[in-house]
């Protein structure tokens, strides 16, 4: 064998100040944005050339590629490396490329200007410390110029240099330059962004990129390279209050390690901390690491750490750790200014998924205001936020979360919105309404004296609403009773809510009209949800034929809802007829009976479907139990749940 081993594992050099490749030089990430065809990729190609950063052979390859396509030499081919892009001549995705100026390592992010690809522009720009906004001297400020300017503001990028390109096309005229310079300054200043420089250039010929040429002799400001050199790497986060969003709790050995990245502030062993949104208090016992552990000293923003606490308490992914006296707010209501990237416009009432830090929660859009197209000059407001537009929204969250307004903390003051498992938008938290809930003003709900986790610890399950839907005679009640027995014998707290049983009391004012059926379902869902919130597993057995009614029940119970379709062929159900209803209905003495009138709407997206004509009761009960375990309702030990592993 032939290999290289470290001299000794313990010899861990703790500084890299002497790295010969200069990796300790300050690194700034800069995104180049602007309207399509205004010359972003050309500027990048030119910058690489001027700073001597092109790999050997690349220039020749570019010449060849251009010649083969019968086109004049194109700088932009350098970045538009993908076949598809070369064919269409526009940048589809964001590309990163590095070069060095006198004092900086620069990571240039080239972002597409085409409106179709705004999601890629945002992906690129969100990683930047500063931006270069490029404008074609001939075309002037266009809709994507304005839109990108607006998005830089929404992404929190404050250092913006403006480049007026293609000055060769306007004979290097100082008047045209000033005209554009005034227009863009006005637009950006209105958004609270002050340009750090406005530079006339010709990316194709090189004027103004790395040197002043006589053709722009009237210009006294910095070149593009000098302007890039002046941009600062962003690093103020350590000065803010501690925010450590919890990524996971690991129990790989006898340590229980809370892992996450410090988004702002600092922490050390011994610190008193508060775990939000629950507000639980603990002390940091150790800061764990590998191969050397535990670590001494203070750890600041940007570090990925693992800590142990001085006491066992329930903590989970999504919680935010802060110092006492400087905690984020806990809330179920947030106002945000967002940009929208999804094809379907965002409307009032929409159900969405919010990600803030490491927390994810379902939410609904309560209100939409100031929805505009930031590319247009006139701000015409709409009631929905269309793709590539921006707006302000009020969001009601399914569970409390910890958050900050973005002015107080840029990291825990921003969120993304997911639709169907794909990021659809994002934005800044404008305000956080602590504890506000959508209830009538003179009702004061009294909270339980027990915390949910106290009950979970005893029952070894979380609260849930198991909604058994299906034709009369399909076996809902049989399955519900078997399930009740099963959950009870494993120490749980199941409670059966049978549709017919409740109709005998609570719901005895209701008949079988569609309105009465809806109200019947609403009351069942409310009662079941109350039980679930208090840690019980409510087993609802109800025909509940309408998809809309069941969807309403799901909205009420939210994440606790588990829909089970108890399915059996209609003939089988009728042959069972445990309550004699089919017989009566056939005889005409039971109008609106769902089994006969054929108005049962089968679920299209339920958590589980069970055919009781082919499976035994025990088998069906197993299936429900398995689903409950897989979807986070049942667990064996609390510590296992907390460990995420």
């Amino acid at each position: 064998m032939n290999m290289i081993l470290p001299a000794s594992i313990s010899a861990m050099p703790n500084g890299t100040t002497s790295m010969p490749n200069g990796t300790t030089r300050p690194q700034v990430r800069i995104v180049i944005v602007g309207h399509v065809d205004h010359g972003k990729s050309t500027l990048v190609g030119r910058l690489l050339h001027e700073t001597g950063s092109l790999p050997e052979g690349k220039l020749e390859m570019l010449r060849e590629v251009s010649a083969r396509r019968g086109m004049p030499f194109e700088w932009s081919f350098l970045l538009d490396a993908l076949q598809t892009e070369r064919d269409q001549g526009i940048t589809i995705d964001t590309t990163q490329i590095r070069f060095r100026t006198r004092s900086r390592d620069v990571v240039l992010i080239d972002a597409p200007g085409h409106a179709e690809f705004l999601r890629n522009m945002i992906t690129g720009a969100s990683q930047a410390d500063g931006a270069v906004l490029i404008i074609d001297a001939l075309e002037g400020v266009r809709d994507q110029t304005r839109r990108h300017g607006y998005l830089l503001h929404l992404l929190g990028i404050k250092q913006v240099a403006i480049v007026v390109n293609k000055m060769d096309r306007v004979d290097f005229g100082a008047d045209r330059f000033r005209e554009i310079s005034d227009e863009i300054s006005a637009h950006l200043t209105g958004l609270g962004v002050t340009p750090t420089a406005i530079i006339p250039i010709s990316a194709r010929d090189g004027d103004g990129v790395a040197e002043h040429t006589s053709r722009i002799g009237w210009y006294r400001g910095p070149t593009v390279v000098e302007a890039l050199d002046a941009l600062e790497p962003a690093r103020p986060l350590e000065q803010l209050a501690l925010r450590l969003p919890v990524q996971a709790i690991y129990k790989f050995d006898d340590r229980r390690i809370v892992a996450g990245r410090i988004e702002s502030g600092r922490l050390s062993a011994g610190d008193e901390i508060v775990i939000m949104p629950a507000g639980k208090i603990a002390k940091i016992k150790t800061v764990e690491s590998w191969p050397v552990t535990p670590l001494a000293g203070s750890h600041g923003a940007g570090r990925s750490v693992g800590i142990t606490l001085d006491r066992e308490l329930f903590i989970e992914r999504g919680d935010i750790i802060a110092h006492a006296g400087a905690t984020p707010r806990d809330t179920r209501r947030i106002r945000a200014r967002i940009f929208w990237l999804h094809d379907k416009p965002l409307s009032k009432g929409d159900q969405i998924l919010i990600r803030l830090g490491t927390r994810e929660t379902r939410a609904s859009v309560v209100a939409i205001e100031k929805a505009v197209d930031p590319g247009e000059l006139s701000n015409e407001e709409t009631t929905a936020i269309a793709r590539n537009h921006v707006g302000e929204i009020d969001i009601s969250l399914a569970q409390p979360i910890a958050a900050d307004p973005y002015q107080e903390n840029p990291r825990t003051g921003r969120l993304v919105i997911e639709v169907n498992g794909r990021i659809a938008g994002g934005g800044l938290v404008l305000s956080v309404d602590a504890g506000q809930r959508a209830v009538p003003i003179d009702i004061v709900p009294v909270e339980s004296a027990l915390r949910p986790e106290e009950r979970s610890a005893r029952y070894h399950h979380n609260g849930a609403v198991i909604w058994l839907t299906g034709l009369p005679g399909s076996g809902k009640s049989t399955l519900a009773r078997a399930l009740e027995r099963r959950l009870f014998s494993r120490g749980g707290s199941p409670i059966l809510l049978d549709g017919d049983t409740l109709r005998a009391g609570l719901n005895n004012d209701l008949g079988f009209s569609p309105q009465d059926r809806s109200e019947n379902i609403r009351r069942l869902a409310e009662v079941a949800t109350h039980l679930a919130r208090n840690g019980h597993i409510a087993i609802v057995a109800a025909v509940s034929p309408s998809i809309a009614d069941r969807a309403a029940a799901r909205r009420i119970a939210d994440t606790a809802f588990r829909e089970v379709h108890v399915a059996a062929p209609a003939e089988v159900c009728e042959s069972r007829d445990p309550k004699g209803h089919y017989a009566k209905a056939r005889a005409g003495s039971l109008p609106s009976f769902t089994g006969i009138t054929n108005d049962y709407q089968s679920p299209t997206a339920c958590e589980l479907k069970i055919d009781t004509s082919t499976r035994s009761v025990a088998d069906a009960t197993d299936a429900v139990e398995k689903m409950l375990a897989e979807t986070g309702i049942l667990f064996d030990e609390l510590t296992d749940l907390a460990a995420n592993i």
Partner: protein
């Protein structure tokens, strides 16, 4: 077996480039910024650890693709840091059977020393691969096929891969969490937005995600970190008789580059001055203009 000391390059080889870099603190001191408590490598490491932990929290069945090269060794090191000593998912080696003997020796030794859950998957014969690809690309595409087999066999929903943006232009376009189609393909034209370290981690049923924890690293970063952390390397990376490998692939389609760098320090010095691309020794990159991109769209790393 002979053991080389990573430090054997000695302090005498510190290059002139560093003298230039040392003027940086002065420039910074003019501004209002405090001295950073993390250096560049610390930042890279923290970001990679964050990504690995996100992947572990959000996916059900992960594997780390271990190609035995310098990048995936750094990645394994990062995974051990992220999870406090041991990677909690398998290391998958999709084996073409044509690697260098030194690579197999490395694998057999360190899979044990690092306590890896090693899974070795063979690749199908060359006949099973798209015959319209140029020869070297076709050979490399075997690996893609082997990967598809492994995916089917184990049902992974996430594969952690050690690609980097600076390696190659198409890789520069990658997301950190990159969805793959049912066939393992990459839809370059419809990549989801990804920002603020919020990742798209819900692949459709049957599809999978590629996770790229070192996408933001450079070749020089990898070497500087390997040296700082004393991570073992395969000696083929160091110069012998005026040549060394910058990138290791299959024996028959990887060529050494001219070099005298016989230690990591010397490699770093060499990289500081070079303009030769890293994958210059990889035949498959140079066959046709778009061969590499075609491979990647089909699911190559």
């Amino acid at each position: 077996m002979h053991l080389l000391d990573n430090e054997s390059g000695g302090p005498g080889l510190r290059p002139a480039a560093f003298t230039k870099a040392s003027s940086v603190p002065k420039i910074l001191a003019d501004g209002a910024l405090p001295a950073p408590s993390m250096d560049h490598l610390d930042e890279l490491e923290a970001q990679s650890i964050y990504i690995l932990r996100e992947a572990f929290a959000r996916l059900k069945k992960l594997a780390l693709l271990w190609s035995l090269g310098k990048d995936s060794n750094v990645m394994i090191w990062l995974a051990r840091k992220a999870f406090f000593g041991r990677a909690p998912f398998p290391a998958l080696h999709v084996d073409t059977g044509k690697k260098f003997p030194e690579m197999y020796a490395f694998r057999d030794r360190f899979s044990k020393e690092w306590d890896l859950d090693l899974k070795v998957e063979p690749c199908p014969p060359i006949d099973a691969v798209d015959p319209t690809l140029p020869p070297a690309a076709r050979s490399a595409a075997r690996k893609t096929e082997g990967l598809k087999w492994a995916l089917t066999k184990y049902g992974f929903d996430g594969l952690i891969a050690g690609i980097r943006r600076d390696e190659e232009a198409t890789r520069a376009k990658e997301r950190v969490f990159s969805p793959r189609g049912l066939e393992g393909g990459w839809d370059v034209r419809d990549q989801p937005p990804e920002f603020w370290d919020q990742f798209n981690a819900s692949p459709p049923q049957g599809a999978h995600l590629r996770i790229h924890p070192i996408l933001h690293w450079t070749e020089a970063d990898i070497w500087a970190y390997t040296k700082r952390e004393n991570i073992p390397i395969i000696p083929l990376y160091l110069a012998k008789d005026g040549k060394r490998y910058r990138s290791l692939g299959d024996q028959d389609i990887t060529n050494p580059v001219a070099s005298t760098a016989s230690s990591i320090d010397e490699i770093l010095t060499e990289l500081d001055g070079t303009k030769v691309p890293e994958r210059a020794g990889r035949a498959l990159d140079h066959e046709t203009e778009d061969a590499f991109e075609r491979l990647r769209v089909a699911g190559y790393l």
